[in-house]
């Protein structure tokens, strides 16, 4: 391991390419199903995916729509004119002998996203994002003299988001990839399921002596096909250390493609790039260019959902912690049937309530939902939240009972007609009738003269004991706050 002072002499520079699978019913250029997750090999193929003679690509309009949304999600605007090009290379999972991609005129040019690493805000530039067709999947069974090709994935629509080399630490790289993930999810352009490879990252890392000055970059390595934020972070950290170690030993860095060993937490050399590949790009004559009108672009802009940065700014007035806000942002897209943010937003004009709901979500609801206790649909769940808040606000529920009530109801298929009636039947509703509680308080004071005397003498701890007795006597129904007030009042303090 390198020592911290050696590490401090170097600046790392990181750029990231991210492949995002777009969420379409059908493939980029063929009317064939796009969901290859569970399909048997080579069942989602047509003459187009197979690259048969005479087969021509036909652009899926939904891809253009989703790519346009992605442009806005990346702080950009879709280009009015973009086109497809052919990138040539031979590989058995590339049926045409070329990949259809966008070379010099991509649909997304320029853009930026903001990241936050331990309170340090930073803007990462987006160079470009282009639409392209995915290749098929090759597998090489161990010990066999053949390989297998599955073309189900061939022709799946991707956008490749290319960042500027604006990151300088593993933490920034991780934050950037998570931010891309959030934005793709919020824009609803991708399922962005990392497990299924809907989002894959290639990280370019180089190091140079800080004293050499900015703009003097070292030779970079590219570590391909990372499929988690953690892998991105670990791979970047590993590469920074590996490269510094080599340089410290007087060795040079070779430009190469590296792979990631997720178990060993290390990168390994895959291919040395001796000279640049010649892909012989040229405009695909089978596909007319994509021409977007101002009206179309405006229409897409108008349908953009609220993006994470907008949520952060809206929630900023509530004084929540960074972690709380991010927990809410993560949770919002974590579950298909549960929504947390709209209820907070609906109450932003009452910040104390909105903050209360936010806290309640972070501390109670989200852990419960994550524990798998929620069976209700989205609308029913929202109704449950609203009504529980109302009961809390009306002092009819203690927070302990509210949690219990939520757990009881969340596990149902359908909510009861009246949640308050249900809560009453379950005995969760607390007594806030002053006269009724007062009667119990008086009884408790009478039954516990010693404790009452202690309180009068200023032993505040004893109030807790008396309050507990009131709760016990009321079978937990009394509003504890009110009970305490009344005890104090009756004892004259």
């Amino acid at each position: 391991m390198i020592s911290p002072d050696i590490r401090a002499r170097y600046t790392a520079t990181i750029g990231i390419e991210c492949h995002v699978q777009l969420k379409t019913q059908t493939k980029l250029f063929a009317a064939v199903g796009n969901d290859a997750r569970e399909a048997p090999p080579n069942t989602l193929v047509s003459h187009i995916c197979f690259g048969l003679p005479g087969a021509l690509p036909v652009l899926n309009a939904e891809v253009v729509h989703l790519a346009s949304k992605a442009a806005f999600a990346l702080g950009s605007v879709p280009q009015k004119f973009s086109k497809f090009d052919r990138k040539h290379y031979f590989y058995p999972d590339l049926p045409l002998g070329y990949q259809i991609t966008q070379f010099d005129q991509p649909t997304i040019l320029g853009g930026s996203v903001e990241i936050d690493v331990e309170g340090q805000k930073k803007t990462i530039g987006i160079t470009r994002a282009h639409i392209e067709a995915d290749a098929g999947k090759s597998t090489h069974p161990a010990g066999q003299d053949y390989s297998l090709v599955d073309l189900n994935r061939a022709g799946t629509p991707l956008i490749e988001i290319v960042s500027e080399p604006d990151m300088h630490s593993a933490a920034e790289a991780r934050a950037y990839t998570r931010e891309l993930y959030l934005r793709m999810r919020y824009a609803d352009v991708s399922d962005a399921n990392l497990y299924y490879g809907n989002m894959r990252f290639d990280v370019n890392v180089s190091v140079s002596l800080t004293s050499a000055g900015a703009g003097k970059l070292g030779t970079r390595s590219e570590t391909k096909n990372l499929n988690s934020f953690r892998a991105v972070e670990k791979a970047v950290e590993y590469e920074i250390n590996r490269q510094i170690e080599r340089l410290e030993k007087g060795e040079t860095i070779v430009q190469e493609t590296r792979g990631w060993d997720d178990a060993g937490l290390c990168t390994f050399s895959q291919r040395i790039k001796e000279n640049a590949d010649d892909y012989r790009y040229f405009p695909d004559p089978d596909l007319p260019p994509i021409v977007l009108t101002d009206e179309y672009i405006e229409q897409v802009k108008a349908e953009m959902p609220t993006m994470p940065d907008e949520w952060r700014s809206r929630l900023s007035t509530l004084g929540l912690t960074w972690a709380q806000v991010e927990t809410l942002l993560d949770a919002e897209i974590e579950f298909e049937t549960v929504s947390f943010l709209p209820l907070i937003e609906a109450n932003l004009d009452k910040p104390w309530l909105a903050k209360h709901i936010a806290n309640w979500n972070v501390n109670v609801f989200i852990p419960l939902v994550r524990a798998g206790g929620l069976k209700l649909g989205k609308d029913e769940h929202l109704r449950l939240e609203v009504e529980i808040y109302e009961l809390l606000q009306a002092n009819k529920l203690s927070s302990t009972n509210a949690k219990q009530l939520f757990a009881d109801l969340a596990g149902l298929e359908k909510l009861p007609e009246s949640i308050e009636t249900f809560a009453t039947e379950k005995g969760y509703i607390q007594e806030s009738d002053e006269a009724a509680i007062l009667a119990v308080v008086d009884q408790v004071i009478t039954d516990n003269p010693q404790a009452a005397e202690d309180v009068r003498k200023g032993e505040i701890k004893a109030i807790g004991f008396l309050t507990g007795q009131v709760m016990k006597a009321s079978q937990g129904k009394a509003n504890p706050g009110l009970a305490q007030q009344l005890i104090k009042k009756q004892l004259g303090i």
């Binding site: 197979f50 003679p53 021509l56 058995p92 089978d286």
Partner: protein
């Protein structure tokens, strides 16, 4: 050609054949048999790679039965046709006359074929071509060379040479060709039939083995302009399987009858660069074209000379742009999923190099190499990009010309059909056969060739051209010209 006349019945105009089949006067099964008999009788010309006889007979029986049952008959009911073997058609392999595709059975059909079949036409055979349509003589076929119907020692033209010869030899009332730089027009001129190259984008390329995507068009080869117009009318127009297609003329293309006054006052430009001395134009070709021009002038057309200064660069541009696209379009033939796979390969690299090395013929390899070269980084700007710039200039010059005149005309090729083997070892000389047809292909304009005379007993075709999407007007002019010349 006496034997031809004895063994076959001359075909009626296509509209009449379909009408007689619809009325029950003629049977589709008999028409198919007539086609198959003629194909067998004329086998020496080697115009045909394979027949689709089983499927053709079944379709003919079905069509006859449907008509007998009172079902509506299509506009091409029972009409046999022959498809160039780069069209994907059921009933026989689709080889594009290449070894690499030998044995390839199409799992889907070309849109053009589907549209013809929907109107009752019956494909009876697949015609020979230069492999992958690379050539102007059919000598580049990986299988055999088709003979010119008028002189068996000469080529029929190409690459749709099998289709042109088949029509002239009466094997079917019409044949389908493809034209990338002259592949319908030049064989029509060499073999003596009508050949239509429509506006780029009016015919679907779906299901046709691609040569150069930016200039490939589908068209008919026929015995008359009227037949060409009817067949084209059936398959012209947009296709959701080909994104480069455009809508058809709402007026259609088949109703092109016009009275003798139609030609009066029509402005027709004779392309100076095609008629110039420097073009090494054969005297007999020049005489035939000039004679036709005289008749058009006499009928009332206004004839003038038009110059397109960049047109002589067409061939150079064509042989950069087209090989570039070819090198890319042929990369799917990699021996991994279909078509020829070398059994001798011991690893992936060898599988590619041996499958392609053995499977592709000389001309395909030549064009792949040229195309790969002009697209390589470092050469792209000097060749491909510059060629596209000149192509734009040629397009603009054609557009400017059509502001002055309604139509352009010229010869189709500098010569009549050449001898088999004459140019076989000189690719550059062979490429010169496209010198007059490449320009209109690069510009995407419609052009039609029809026989207007003979030179030393060999047919000469005139090439008529119109502005993009003026196919209907072009067919009308061709019909008038045909009447004046014949």
């Amino acid at each position: 050609m006496a034997d031809v006349a004895q063994s076959v019945v001359q075909w009626l105009p296509i509209a009449e054949i379909a009408a007689k089949v619809a009325s029950g006067e003629l049977k589709a099964v008999d028409l198919v048999e007539q086609s198959l008999r003629t194909i067998a009788a004329k086998a020496d010309y080697q115009a045909i790679i394979a027949t689709t006889e089983t499927r053709a007979r079944e379709r003919a029986q079905q069509i006859d039965a449907d008509i007998a049952a009172g079902k509506p008959a299509g506009r091409l009911a029972g009409v046999p046709f022959i498809a160039k073997d780069n069209y994907l058609v059921f009933g026989a392999d689709t080889t594009a006359a290449s070894n690499i595709l030998r044995g390839f059975e199409a799992p889907y059909q070309a849109t053009v074929v589907n549209r013809l079949e929907a109107e009752g036409a019956i494909c009876v055979a697949k015609a020979n071509l230069d492999a992958f349509a690379h050539g102007g003589s059919t000598e580049n076929s990986d299988f055999f060379t088709t003979k010119n119907p008028h002189d068996m020692t000469r080529v029929p033209g190409g690459s749709s040479g099998g289709s042109a010869a088949a029509v002239v030899l009466d094997m079917a009332p019409f044949a389908l060709g493809t034209d990338t730089g002259g592949s319908i027009r030049q064989p029509a001129s060499f073999s003596g039939c009508v050949g239509l190259k429509p506006t780029y984008g009016l015919t679907s390329r779906s299901g046709v083995v691609a040569m150069a995507s930016s200039t490939d068009v589908m068209g008919p080869l026929t015995r008359s302009v009227e037949d060409a117009a009817l067949v084209f009318d059936i398959f012209a127009g947009q296709d959701e399987l080909d994104s480069t297609t455009t809508p058809r003329d709402p007026a259609g293309y088949s109703d092109i009858a016009a009275d003798d006054t139609w030609i009066q006052g029509k402005k027709i430009g004779v392309i100076k660069e095609y008629m110039s001395e420097a073009g090494s134009l054969e005297a007999g070709v020049r005489q035939s074209v000039n004679a036709a021009v005289d008749k058009l002038r006499a009928a009332g057309a206004e004839i003038m000379e038009i110059s397109l200064p960049s047109l002589p660069l067409s061939l150079a541009v064509y042989y950069i742009v087209v090989p570039a696209e070819i090198s890319s379009n042929l990369s799917r033939y990699d021996g991994q999923r279909f078509a020829y796979t070398s059994p001798d390969a011991t690893n992936l690299e060898e599988s590619y190099s041996l499958s392609r090395g053995v499977g592709f013929g000389k001309e395909a390899k030549r064009r792949i190499m040229i195309g790969t070269y002009v697209l390589s980084s470092g050469y792209y700007d000097a060749y491909y990009k510059k060629a596209q710039t000149v192509r734009t200039k040629i397009i603009n010059e054609f557009a400017a010309a059509f502001l002055q005149v309604d139509f352009l005309l010229g010869p189709t090729a500098p010569t009549t059909a050449f001898k088999i083997g004459e140019n076989a070892n000189d690719p550059l000389q062979m490429y010169l056969a496209d010198v007059m047809t490449a320009g209109p292909s690069l510009a995407g304009i419609p052009a039609i060739v029809l026989p207007v005379g003979a030179s030393d007993g060999l047919p000469v075709g005139i090439q008529l051209m119109a502005a993009q999407r003026q196919d209907r007007a072009l067919l009308t002019l061709a019909r008038q010209t045909e009447r004046l010349v014949v």
